[in-house]
Structures are given as C-alpha cells and as structure tokens.
Amino acid sequence: MVKEHDNLDSHGEQTLSLRLRVWRQSRGAAGHFEDHALAAVPTSASFLEMMDMLNEQLIKEGKDTFAFDHDCREGICGMCSMTINGMPHGPLPGVTTCQLHMRNFRDGEMITVEPWRAKAFPVIKDLAVNRSAFDKVIQAGGFITVRTGSATEANNTLIPKSVADEAMDAAECIGCGACVASCKNGSAMLFVGAKINHLNILPQGQPERERRTLAMVKTMDDAGFGNCTNYGECQAHCPKSITLDVIAKLNRDYLRARVKEFFSSTGKPRKGGD
C-alpha cells in the first residue's frame, strides 16, 4: 500500500517507483525474465496503464515492447491475462488485471509479471497466450439450437427466478483463463463448469444437455487441460468470483449424461433376441 511520504507528481498525486521482472518470449523459443525500472507511476493508473508506460519507455530507448492482451479495459471482455506475483489478475480478488490499480502496490516493490502458464495455453509472444482451446470447448457445446428470424414471445418459456439467477451467475464467466492459470493442475473445470451451468439449467438448454456435457468435457480433455483435484484456487482467483458449485454441477451432469448414454434405447429389438 502507498505510504504517506511517497513521491507526488505535478497534479499532487502519489507516484511509485517500481522494479519490474517481465517475461520475454518469442514464438517457439524459450523465454526468460527481463528486469526494468519504471518511475513516476501514478497510483491511480491501472496495471495495464503501467504496462503502457513501460512500453513507451522501451520505445524511447529503442527497445522491443512487451506484447500483452487487452481489449475493453473495463473488466468484461476477459482479454487481459497476466500472472502478477504468482496470482492471475494480481493480488486483488474479484477483479481483472485492467481493473487492478497501482495503489495496491508499494513504492519500490518488485513486481513479477508472467503469462498464463498451461500446456493448453501456448505463449504467442511475451505475455500473450493462445486461448483458442477455450473457443474449441465452446464450439463443442456452448450453444443452443433456436429458430432464428422470428423471435417468440419471451413469456412463452417460464423460468423460475432462482434458476435464472443461477444461470446468470454462471454466465458471468468472461473466459479469461485465470482458473486454468491459477490451478495447480492446469485444469479448465471452472470455465467448463460455468458454461455447463449456464446452459444446462435453462429450458432452452435441455435439448442438447447430455450431448453438450459429454462433448465439452471431451474437448477439454483433448486440449491438454489437467484434471480437477479440488484445490479451490480457481474460485479464489476468478475475477467474477464463480464458485466451485459449477464444478460439482458439471460432475453431476457428466455422471447423468454417461448413465443416460449407457442405458439409451436404440428403438430396435436386440439382434438374435425375441
């Protein structure tokens, strides 16, 4: 936290001098940490603005900038992805990196910034990782089938408030990947659980319910994500505070889908039977 006697800038705002250890990696090559000093960082700056300042300093010095993902910068797109001092999205629970402000750091602090670390999220460059494994999971079952063209009357399908709330809580997932990065197993169960919970409990999600669950879990496994062993780190690092309840529900739905698949009827009599 900021101390009383810290430096002030021309607007009277407190500023920080930081030591940064940032991950540098080119595609296909092995990576390493690079040390940089950055002065006069306003405490009101977001973490991404601090990274912008570092890149501006590097441009002035004629050096290569650090690549990092960002888009909306208002905590809803899920693009920003940095592990800050070992914590995905940094030390403040329940926020994305873009909503993390420098007032949460001390003057003179050493900050280590690295990309999401997981086999399923290969590094593209520096801090930017390829999260298309999540897109593949969504393609496998993160949809519902509806007739398009003429919207039906919304009140034709009644949904209890509690169910709508539960689905909405799960739908808060922005697919940033912090669950995978924080998991000591590199597991994507919180992400997949959120998507399953979002769609499987609503009436519109019922037709594809079993197929969705099996397909999304298979795609998750094939992408090289690890297995959940109930550490609970994902919930503690999720910027949307999605709970382990979605994983319990995913486990339950998977078991249900497997049992239904196992005992499914072909509609025809057994060959050679009577």
Partner: protein
C-alpha cells in the same frame, strides 16, 4: 493434443473412480479401526474377533477382493491424474502463490505414497508376519503379536506417523468425494470439510491409540 485421446479415460471418469474407490477404502479403515479397539478389551476379545474373521473365509475373501480392486483403482487413477496434471501445468509460474489450496490437498500424492509404503509394511508385518516380529510364531494370538510388534518404538513410530498422514489424506479426500459426485455446494462445503477433517482425526486417533498404549505400557 494428447497422443492417445481416443482410448484415454475421461478426466471426470477418472475422478469418479478415484472417489468411489477412496470411499470404499475410507469405509474399510473405519471398520478396521473399530475392530482394533478390541485390544483395549483384552486378549480374549481381539483373539476371538480374529478367529471369527478367519472362520468365515467367504466374507473375508469377499472383502479382500473388493479392497484389492479398490486399492488398485485408487493407485492407478492417482498416478494418471498426477502425471497428467503435472504435464498440463507446463512448469507453472516462476512465482507460485497459493490463496486457498489446503496443505492436505497439495500433499495428496505424497501422503498417498507414504500410506502405500505403510500398507506394504503393515501387510508384511501383521498379515504375512515376515518382518519386525523377530521370527516368532503367534498363530491365533493376535493380541500377543500386536503387543510384540508395537513394543519396538521405531515400528510404533512409523505406524503413528503414517496414521497422521492418513488423517491428512482423508481430510481432503472425504470432502472431495462429495464434490466429485456433485453433492456439494457453497453452503455445504465448509460443513463437509469439517466432517472430513473430523473423520480423518477419528480414524487416526483410533489407530494411534493402540501403538501409543503399548509404548506407554497400558496394554501389555
């Protein structure tokens, strides 16, 4: 991409096998511990109990087959999960921060390996009776055999340490069984964690009481 995704068991499938086999083993240790406490009732009680078990070979071997299958399934899924999870992490971050994962959850593979080593020793010790008994023959005298076994502080110490690790293993394992079978939520998580920890301590203290009583001379 996995080299063999077609024949690889699904992640949740492995977890369900691990949970169910763990549940069988967790139930067994409660039965085993309850039987052991007959040591405090005297030689006649425990020796009669042991004789009764051996007089029912159908039941004994039925239980043994279920236990052997559960142990193999538990170890097999444990090894697969550990290796796959290590590979999926890709080395992990240079700075490792832990917000919530408990000590017991992070040490499951290690406590598991020690418990397996203990299990091998324990079977050689009291089932096959080939180690740490000084070559003595005890026959049906289980009480005398246990007293002789635990009179050696190193043996009793190993049993006690292993049971503390079993407590650690159970305190994460029991709660995880509910999560893996989808029978847990935020409201019940804390309560189930407490039940799991209490169960772990119940089992560990029940087992530890016997070597401790022998060492302290309460059982002779």
């Amino acid at each position: 991409m996995s080299a063999c995704s077609c024949c690889r068991p699904a992640s949740i499938g492995k977890k369900i096998v691990m949970a169910l086999s763990g549940l069988v083993l967790a139930g067994f240790v409660l039965g085993h511990m309850s039987g052991n406490l007959l040591m405090f009732k005297g030689p006649e009680a425990i020796n009669a109990y042991a004789a009764w078990l051996h007089a029912n070979p159908g039941m004994l071997w039925g239980a043994r087959v279920v236990l052997i299958l559960s142990t193999v399934a538990h170890i097999w899924t444990g090894v697969l999960l550990t290796l796959e999870n290590r590979a999926a992490r890709a080395g992990g971050p240079a700075v490792e921060a832990t917000r919530r994962a408990t000590l017991s959850s992070r040490t499951m593979p290690y406590s598991g390996v020690v418990i397996l080593a203990f299990l091998v020793f324990h079977l050689l010790h009291y089932t096959f009776r080939t180690v740490a008994l000084g070559g003595q023959e005890f026959g049906d005298k289980v009480y005398e055999m246990v007293v002789a076994g635990f009179s050696q502080p190193a043996v009793a110490g190993f049993y006690i340490i292993s049971m503390i690790l079993l407590c650690l293993h159970l305190s994460h394992g029991i709660s995880s069984v509910f999560q893996t079978l989808g029978l847990r939520n935020e409201r019940w998580r804390g309560r189930l964690d407490a039940v799991a920890t209490a169960y772990g301590w119940l089992i560990a203290l029940g087992f530890i009481s016997i070597p401790l009583a022998v060492l302290l001379g309460c059982i002779k």
